[in-house]
C-alpha cells in the first residue's frame, strides 16, 4: 500500500491520496440540537461525532461542587460490520472514564454548586480516529454551552506506517499498522492531558517523532475549531444589534 522512495519523503502519497502530514477535511457545527444546553457536531473525513450537554440544577446533588457525568456510545451502525454488543465492551467503559477525568481537570466545577452536567457523546460514523474526534466534539459542545473552562482541549491520532510517522489515520490504515497513538493537548498551557499508545515495540526515537508530529497537528485542528466558534459568536452579536 505505502511505498516510500526514501524514509522521510514528504511527497509520497497515502491510501486515499493524502500526503504524510495532511489532515482530512474538518467540519465543525455548533448548536445542532434544540432543547440542549450546548451541542456540537465534529466531522473529520468520514468520521462523525455528536456531543451534547444537558445541564441540570436540581436539589439532588448537595455538594458545593458540580458533578460531571459522561455517556459515551458507539452506535451499532457506525462501523462497516454490524456489532450489537459494543455497549458492554470494557474498552468503552474505560474510555468514558478517560473523557471524564480529562474534562474534570479543565472545567471549573466550583462555579456550579448543586448542579449536574450530563454529557452525551455519540459516534455516528467511525472511519478511524473516533476517539480523538470525541474529545474535540465534547470540547466544542462545552464551549457552545458557555461552560467556564481553564483551557482549550484538542486531540489527534497518529501512527507509524513502516518507520514513517503519519497523522489522522483512516480505518484501513489503522488495521494495517502496528501502533495507535492518541494525544490530548491543552492548547493554552501547552501541556499534555492524556496519552494512549497501543503498540508492539517501537523505538524511543519513533515515539519522540510521533509526539512532535501530533502536537503540530493539534495546532491545525485548533485553528479550525476556533474559526467555527468565532463565526457563531459574530452571528450572535449581529442578531443582537440588528434586531
Amino acid at each position: 500500500m505505502l511505498e516510500l522512495r526514501h524514509d522521510n519523503d514528504q511527497s509520497t502519497l497515502r491510501m486515499n491520496g493524502r500526503k504524510l502530514l495532511e489532515l482530512r477535511d474538518i467540519k465543525c457545527q455548533l448548536d445542532v440540537m434544540k432543547n440542549t444546553s450546548g451541542s456540537a457536531l465534529f466531522e473529520i473525513g468520514n468520521t462523525k461525532v455528536v456531543a451534547f450537554l444537558q445541564a441540570q440544577t436540581l436539589g439532588v446533588n448537595q455538594l458545593n461542587r458540580g458533578i460531571l457525568n459522561v455517556n459515551f456510545f458507539v452506535t451499532n451502525f457506525s462501523a462497516i460490520e454490524h456489532r450489537a454488543d459494543i455497549k458492554k465492551d470494557i474498552k468503552m467503559k474505560e474510555f468514558t472514564r478517560m473523557i471524564k477525568s480529562v474534562f474534570e481537570q479543565v472545567i471549573l466545577l466550583d462555579l456550579y454548586p448543586r448542579s449536574q452536567l450530563d454529557l452525551q457523546v455519540f459516534v455516528l460514523e467511525a472511519d478511524g480516529g473516533y476517539r480523538s474526534a470525541a474529545f474535540n466534539a465534547v470540547s466544542l459542545a462545552l464551549m457552545d454551552g458557555g461552560i467556564a473552562m481553564k483551557d482549550f482541549v484538542v486531540a489527534t491520532t497518529a501512527g507509524l506506517l513502516g518507520n514513517v510517522g503519519v497523522i489522522d489515520l483512516i480505518y484501513q490504515e489503522e488495521k494495517k499498522q502496528n501502533c495507535e497513538f492518541v494525544l490530548v493537548h491543552l492548547q493554552k498551557a501547552q501541556k499534555i492531558a492524556y496519552v494512549n499508545l497501543n503498540c508492539n515495540k517501537i523505538r524511543l526515537s519513533d515515539f519522540e517523532k510521533l509526539m512532535s508530529i501530533s502536537v503540530d497537528s493539534c495546532d491545525k485542528i485548533a485553528n479550525e475549531m476556533k474559526t467555527a466558534i468565532r463565526a457563531k459568536l459574530v452571528k450572535n452579536i449581529n442578531s443582537f444589534y440588528f434586531k
Partner: protein
C-alpha cells in the same frame, strides 16, 4: 414517561379533546410536523434520519445486511431484527435505569409484532435452506424513549427501507468441494471502474405505516385521537397501535393501554361500518404523497 400529571390536568386535557382542541393547536386527527432525509449514513445499505415535533427530536435509522443460514422452520425466508438505542442517561441521578429498560423492551416488542413482516421476506432468499440475507435494523433516538415516538420510529424505518439496496448475488455449486458458494454480480462499464450491482426491494414500496390511536370512552360518542404526546397518552382509556399499508390492509394490531379490548369498544361503532377506514384513509394518502416525493430525490 417523563412526568406524571395530576387528576385536574387530566380533566383539562380530556375536556379539550372532547371539543376537538389540543394544547399545541392541532385537531384531534392531525399529525405533528416532521422532516425526513434519506441516505444520511453512507456505511449502511439503507438509512434515513427524521426530525419531528416542537422539540426537534432526532431519529436515525440504518439497515445492515449479512449472509447467514436461514432458520430450519423458514428455509426460504430471510430474517429481520430490530435494535433500539437512545440517549438515556442510565448512570445519571435523574433517570431510573429500570424504567428506561422497560420502555425499550416495550417498544421493541411492538416493533417486532407490527413490523415483523414489513417487507416480503422471501425476497431476502439467496439459496433455499443454505443462504439468506439477515437484516439488522438499528434505530437511534436522541431523547428518552417513550410511547409517543412509536409512529415516527415506524416512519423512519419505512423510509430507510425505501432507500435500501442489496447487492445482487449468484449462488453456484462448486464441483470440487460439493458446496454452494455465493459470489457478487458486477456491473461492467467501458469508461469507469466496475462496481457491484445493486437492487432495490420490490415490496418496500407497499410496506406499512404505524398509526397509534387513542380512545376516550364517553357516553355520547367515543373520542378518537391520533398521534398523542406523552401527557395525552396518560389520559386515554385505550391505546392501539395499528400497522396499515397503502391498500388499507392491516399487518398487525398491538394494544399498550387498557386492560383488554373491552366488549364496549369492540361493539362500538369504531370498528364497524367503515369508520376505521374513514379515519385512516386520509392519513395514508398524506403519507403516500410525502414518500413518493422522497423517492424522486
Amino acid at each position: 414517561m417523563k412526568q406524571q400529571i395530576c387528576e385536574n390536568e387530566k380533566v383539562f386535557i380530556v375536556d379539550g379533546l372532547k371539543q376537538g382542541i389540543r394544547r399545541d393547536g392541532r385537531g384531534n386527527l392531525d399529525f405533528r410536523e416532521f422532516k425526513i432525509e434519506l441516505g444520511t449514513i453512507p456505511h449502511a445499505f439503507g438509512s434515513s434520519s427524521l426530525i419531528f415535533g416542537e422539540e426537534d427530536i432526532n431519529i436515525i435509522c440504518a439497515i445492515k445486511a449479512d449472509l447467514q443460514k436461514p432458520l430450519p422452520s423458514e428455509p426460504n425466508k430471510g430474517q429481520i431484527r430490530f435494535h433500539l438505542e437512545s440517549s438515556q442517561t442510565g448512570s445519571s441521578l435523574f433517570t431510573r435505569e429500570e424504567q428506561s429498560e422497560l420502555n425499550k423492551n416495550r417498544l421493541t416488542s411492538i416493533l417486532n409484532a407490527l413490523y415483523g413482516n414489513i417487507i416480503n421476506r422471501e425476497e431476502l432468499k439467496v439459496f433455499e435452506g443454505q443462504f439468506c440475507w439477515f437484516l439488522n435494523v438499528d434505530i437511534l433516538v436522541m431523547e428518552e424513549l417513550s410511547l409517543q415516538q412509536i409512529d415516527f420510529i415506524g416512519l423512519a424505518i419505512r423510509s430507510a427501507f425505501l432507500d435500501f439496496q442489496l447487492p445482487s448475488v449468484n449462488a453456484t455449486l462448486n464441483n470440487n468441494t460439493g458446496k454452494i458458494e455465493v459470489g457478487l454480480v458486477e456491473e461492467i462499464y467501458e469508461d469507469q471502474e466496475n462496481t457491484d450491482k445493486l437492487e432495490t426491494l420490490k415490496s418496500a414500496k407497499n410496506s406499512p405505516y404505524i398509526l397509534s390511536i387513542g380512545f376516550i370512552r364517553d357516553e355520547a360518542e367515543d373520542v378518537v385521537v391520533i398521534d398523542a404526546d406523552d401527557q395525552e397518552n396518560q389520559c386515554f382509556d385505550q391505546l392501539l397501535h395499528i400497522s396499515v399499508d397503502n391498500n388499507l390492509r392491516i399487518y398487525g394490531i398491538e394494544q399498550s393501554k387498557g386492560r383488554s379490548l373491552q366488549s364496549g369498544l369492540l361493539s362500538s361503532k369504531f370498528f364497524l361500518q367503515g369508520n376505521l377506514t374513514k379515519i385512516l384513509k386520509p392519513k395514508i394518502i398524506e403519507f403516500e404523497r410525502i414518500s413518493q416525493k422522497l423517492i424522486k430525490y
